[in-house]
Each structure stands twice: as C-alpha cells, then as structure tokens.
C-alpha cells in the first residue's frame, strides 16, 4: 500500500500537464450535475465518441504514419456486430429478450473491439507493401466495401432498413437518458485515452514512431516493421470497434449511412486539425470541431445550407496542410516531419525499400 508521501510525490511529478488533465477530467465528471439540458449532454457525448475515435486513428496516422482513409470500417464492425448479435441472432433467432442479456453489452464492448482489431490486421495486411497514396486508396476501398456490403446484405444487416439496438443496461439499471449515457462514454473515453497513452509511451510507441520517421532504419534496428504496422492497425481499430458498439447502443440504431466515407475523412480531419503524433492533439481537434459542428447543427442557416460544413472542412484541411501541418496543438516535432525532405532518394534506396517491403 503506497504511503501518503509517495502518492504526494507522484502527484508532484505529474507537473502542470498532469494537473491540467486531472482538472479537466474532474470538470467533465461533474458537468452533468450542472448541465441539465439533454441537448448539451448529447453534444458532449458525441464529442467524446469522436475524441476516442480520433485518438485511435492517431495511432495509425499520427504515430505510425499510415494514412488510413477507411477507419470508419472498424467503427462499423463494432456497431454491426453488437446489433446483429443482439437482434438478429438472439432476439429473432433464439427469441431471447434483450433485457435478459444486458450484460452482453459490456462483453460486446470488448469483443467488438477485438473483432475490429482482427479486421484491422486483415485490412492492413495488403497495404504493407504500398506507398502512401496507394495505401490510402486501398484503405478507402476497404471502408467503402464494408459499407456497400452492409447496405446490401439484407439477410444479415437488414440493409438500408438498419437494425434497432437496445440501450445499455446493468441488471435493470438502464442507461437510457442523456446523463447516464454521458457518464458511460466519459468513463470509456478516459479509459481509452489512458490505454493509448500507456502503449505510446513504451517500446511499442517508439517502434511506431521509428517506422514513421524512417522505415528502412527502423527495420535495420531490429524492428519487424510489417508486424508493427499490423499491430498499429489492430490497436487503432480496437478503439474504433469499441466506439462502434457504444454508438450502436447509444443511437439505438445502426444504419449504413452512419458509416460513410465522409466519416473516415472527418476523423482524419480531426487528427490533422488538432495535431498528429501527440496525445492531446486529436483530443483537442475532436473537441473543437465536433462541438462546433453539433452546436451549429440546429441553426437554421446550417440546416438550409448543409454544404457549409463541407466547405469549411475542405478549406480547413487544405489550409492546415499548407500553413500549419503540425496542427493546432502539434509540437514542433511533428511540424518538422512535414517539412521538405532534403535527402534525394537514390534509385537504389527506393529499390531497397521495395525489397524490404516485399518480404
């Protein structure tokens, strides 16, 4: 049992950054007691979902340097898995009432994440040999294929009708209202970010960053790059899967239109906006953008002109890349990663990378 003084020492060690985090978490926890309106709580809930999604994607895009444009696929895997299991399998097929298997929700959070992880490894595998743009397109293709399948495989996914999903519950205590759902997602978000930070700050995070910085050197230093890239996809996908499960139960519905390409691009935008390759960037990006987006959703002008959001997002992406590629909160470190590469790659070196990648 750690002594009081050692705990105090730990707290002191955390410094400003740690204090800020603790304060923010405390505020977040207390918020629903102060705020009553469902609208605001809903907004915050959605923000938190995207916080986790952006953080998970950051592993792949920000830390490992792989542009994944199909991240929404993992989100869909989680969501559809739980929906199909609850409704299609248990209710329709076995006649099991939802309230009897409430505990399944919690289990599904984990299983959904694992399934998404596996999907991540599967989707990631063919991309191992590919260069930046091809990799992006391939991940995009996978994401779209999953959406199209979801939309057309009526027998399993009920296609465009979607599947309605029950609220999460704990033995009768149903997480039905905005406040309870908010606390639930807050817990999940804090846990997720915590897990991600632990993984990043280890030899694994170092390996990922090394791969991003110089794949050949990383391989030469004993990092099995193929394996770590797959790991990156898998770990990143895990969080999307978990969020997918939550989202399905939160919205009480899954539908292919929730998993469009635009969502993937949105998620990438959040990471880019906030700052890639550090932990707090994507969180900031998500909080900023999604808050704005959801807040403006009810405005008449926005409702009449939905394209404004798209224009803003497109403009932000272009502007960010041209003016401030490290994102709003990116440390100088990532900014420098975006600067011109002055070393002129010789043909031999290019061949070397190709050879390494093909094995």
């Amino acid at each position: 049992m750690p002594s009081v003084s050692s705990i105090a020492q730990r707290v002191r060690d955390l410094g400003w950054y740690g204090a800020f985090v603790i304060a923010a978490v405390a505020v977040a926890m207390v918020l629903p007691l102060v705020i009553d309106s469902a609208r605001w709580l809903t907004l915050l809930t959605i923000v938190l979902i995207y916080v986790v999604l952006a953080s998970g994607l950051n592993i792949v895009v920000g830390f490992t340097g792989l542009l994944d444009l199909g991240y929404v696929a993992f989100y869909a895997v989680g969501g559809y898995y739980t929906a199909i299991l609850f409704i299609q399998v248990l209710e329709s097929h076995f006649g099991v009432a939802v309230s009897e298997v409430w505990w399944l929700f919690w289990v599904n959070l984990l299983i959904g994440g694992i399934l998404a992880s596996i999907a991540g490894a599967i989707i990631g595998y063919p991309t191992l040999r590919l260069r930046g743009d091809y990799l992006a397109i391939m991940t995009l293709a996978f994401g779209e294929i999953i959406r199209i399948v979801a939309n057309n495989w009526d027998a399993v996914t009920r296609g465009p009708s979607g599947i309605s999903v029950p609220d999460p519950a704990v033995a009768g205590f149903v997480f039905g209202d905005a406040r309870r759902l908010y606390w639930l997602i807050l817990g999940l978000a804090i846990l997720s970010v915590f897990l991600i930070s632990r993984v990043i700050r280890s030899r694994i995070g170092r390996a990922w960053t090394a791969i991003r910085e110089d794949e050949i050197a990383a391989e030469a230093m004993g990092i099995h790059t193929s394996r770590y890239k797959l790991l990156s996809y898998a770990v990143g996908a895990f969080f999307a899967g978990v969020m997918g499960v939550f989202f399905a139960h939160y919205l009480n519905f899954v539908h292919p239109s929730n998993f469009k390409l635009m969502e993937s691009i949105l998620m990438v935008s959040l990471v880019v906006l906030g700052g890639m390759g550090n932990l707090i960037g994507p969180i900031a990006g998500a909080v900023l953008w999604i808050s704005l987006q959801e807040y403006l959703r009810d405005f008449e002008f926005i409702q009449a002109h939905p394209e404004v959001r798209g224009i803003a997002m497109g403009a932000v992406l272009v502007a960010m890349m041209v003016l401030r590629p490290q994102g709003l909160l990116g440390s100088r470190r990532v900014a420098l990663e975006m600067r011109p590469r002055t070393v002129h790659q010789s043909e031999q070196e290019r061949q070397a990378v190709a050879d390494v990648r093909s094995r």
């Binding site: 897990l195 632990r198 993984v199 700050r201 280890s202 030899r203 694994i204 170092r206 390996a207 960053t209 090394a210 991003r212 910085e213 110089d214 050949i216 050197a217 990383a218 391989e219 030469a220 230093m221 004993g222 990092i223 099995h224 790059t225 790991l231 770990v235 390759g277 470190r333 990532v334 420098l336 990663e337 070393v343 031999q348 070196e349 061949q351 070397a352 050879d355 390494v356 094995r359």
Partner: protein, 255 residues
C-alpha cells in the same frame, strides 16, 4: 574463427550486376576495410548481407548460421548492426530515444505489459534507458540526450548513429562511410572510437573513402571494383597493388 563467411555472393538488379561472385570473411575482432571506387558495389554488398536485399546467388554465414535472405530485423537480432551512408536517424526523436530504439529487439515488453506497466516492464525500460545514456556518453554525446536528432551537428549525428547501432548489442558492426563529411580532427576522434569499440570485443567492417582512416585502422582491406573483389590483404600490400591503383586512377581518367 570466422565471424562472417561469405561465399560466391552475387546480386543483380534486372540487367545490372552490382555484386559479382564475391568471397569474403571476417575474423573475430578484426577491422576489415572495404574500399573501391564509387559504384563498385560496396554499399550493395552491405545491403545484401544485412538483409535489405536478397542475394541472387551465394552463401552468407554469420557465426555458423546462414543469414542469406533473412529480413533485416532478423539479421539485426542475430547480431549484426549497421550505420548508413546517408545518415538515417529518426529525426523527430531525441538522441536518447534514437538509441533506445536500438535496444528494441532486446526487449520483451509487449502491448499488454506496456499497458499494465508491470514491474518487469518498468525495470526493462529503466535498464534500456540507462544503457542508452551510457552509450551516448561512450560516443561522446553526453548531455545531448534530450536533443532532437535533426538538431544535432553533422559529426554528432554520425556518432549518434553508431551509438544507436551499438544499442542492438551486435557482435558485428557494419559502418558505411562513417567519416564522410568529417574534418581531420573529427576523423581522428572517430578512429579512436572505432579502435576502442574493437578493443572491447567488437568485429568491424567498414566502408570508407577516407584513405588515411581506412589504411590507418584496418587490419585487412578488401577492394571491390565493378562488383568484383580485385584485391585483398594488409593495407601496405593493397596500397601498392597495381590493380587497385589502376581501378582508382582508371576511374578518374574515365570521368
């Protein structure tokens, strides 16, 4: 006892033969210099042995195990480390982090132990950190641990690469033009460092164009030209070998 035994090694890229039927060996704690005019195939040779390329033909045995065709990460794990001709540091990471990456293949922490911060994982991390700091001091970069690799002066970057390579706990060290771009004083320091590394048990192969360095430090020299071995022997012997002279001069005249 030969640490590295290469027999009949060839490597072709499409129509171009970069390395042609080369035999090569290194004994324990030897320093072997690999020289030859530009384009002779020296770096390609390195790349084939360290696994970056697959050999077209030939055998490569390291400490009795065949390593031909293995992935570079596997080769490193078996005990061969290298530096690069065009410095390939992890620019956005600190000097310390760069060296710590070198220890990657000697660590066991996985995703789960990282998340849980098991005592073993923490101990391992600390051990690695200490070792990295020690290596930085060893190559003369003490105090620069927290600096980003890209911000270091050129000479320091070269030494950082050596520290990083050594962090993989190798038994054989490949240095690819470690003195490129260095001034005489830096080259002098480098010579001392390399000698010290060897004296403490390492076997070293080095590619270099700086003749003073190579001749001064190597026990034995191998000369490549157009992918073929044209001479081998002690520095004095090689220096006077007419074929070697012609290779260098011949190239100069052609150009």
């Amino acid at each position: 006892m030969a640490v590295l035994e290469v027999t009949g090694l060839s490597k072709s890229f499409g129509g171009l033969t970069a390395v042609n039927d080369v035999d090569f060996h290194v004994d324990e704690q030897e320093i072997v210099g690999l020289i030859g005019p530009n384009g002779a195939g020296k770096t390609t040779f390195f790349n084939v042995i360290t696994g970056v390329y697959e050999p077209s033909e030939g055998k490569i045995e390291f400490l009795g195990t065949s390593i031909a065709g293995r992935l570079p990460s596997q080769v490193t794990k078996l005990g061969i480390a290298r530096t690069f001709q065009n410095i390939r540091l992890f620019n956005d990471m600190t000097a310390l982090e760069n060296v710590m990456v070198g220890q990657h293949c000697r660590m066991k922490t996985n995703v789960f132990s990282a998340i849980l911060r098991t005592p073993r994982a923490l101990r391992e991390e600390e051990r690695v950190r200490d070792k990295a700091l020690a290596l930085l001091e060893y190559v003369g970069l003490k105090g620069h641990a927290g600096e980003l690799a890209m911000n270091l002066p050129y000479g320091s970057q070269r030494r950082l690469e050596i520290a990083r390579a050594m962090a993989t706990d190798p038994q054989l060290l490949f240095l690819d033009e470690p003195a490129a771009g260095m001034n005489p004083q830096e080259t002098e320091d480098l010579m001392r460092l390399i000698r010290r590394i060897r004296d403490e048990g390492m076997t070293i192969i080095l590619i270099e164009h700086d003749m003073r360095l190579v001749m001064g430090i190597s026990d034995r020299i191998v000369v490549l030209d157009h992918g073929e071995k044209i001479a081998e022997g002690s520095p004095d012997v090689v220096r006077q070998d007419p074929k070697v002279i012609e290779a260098y001069l011949g190239h100069a005249v052609e150009a």
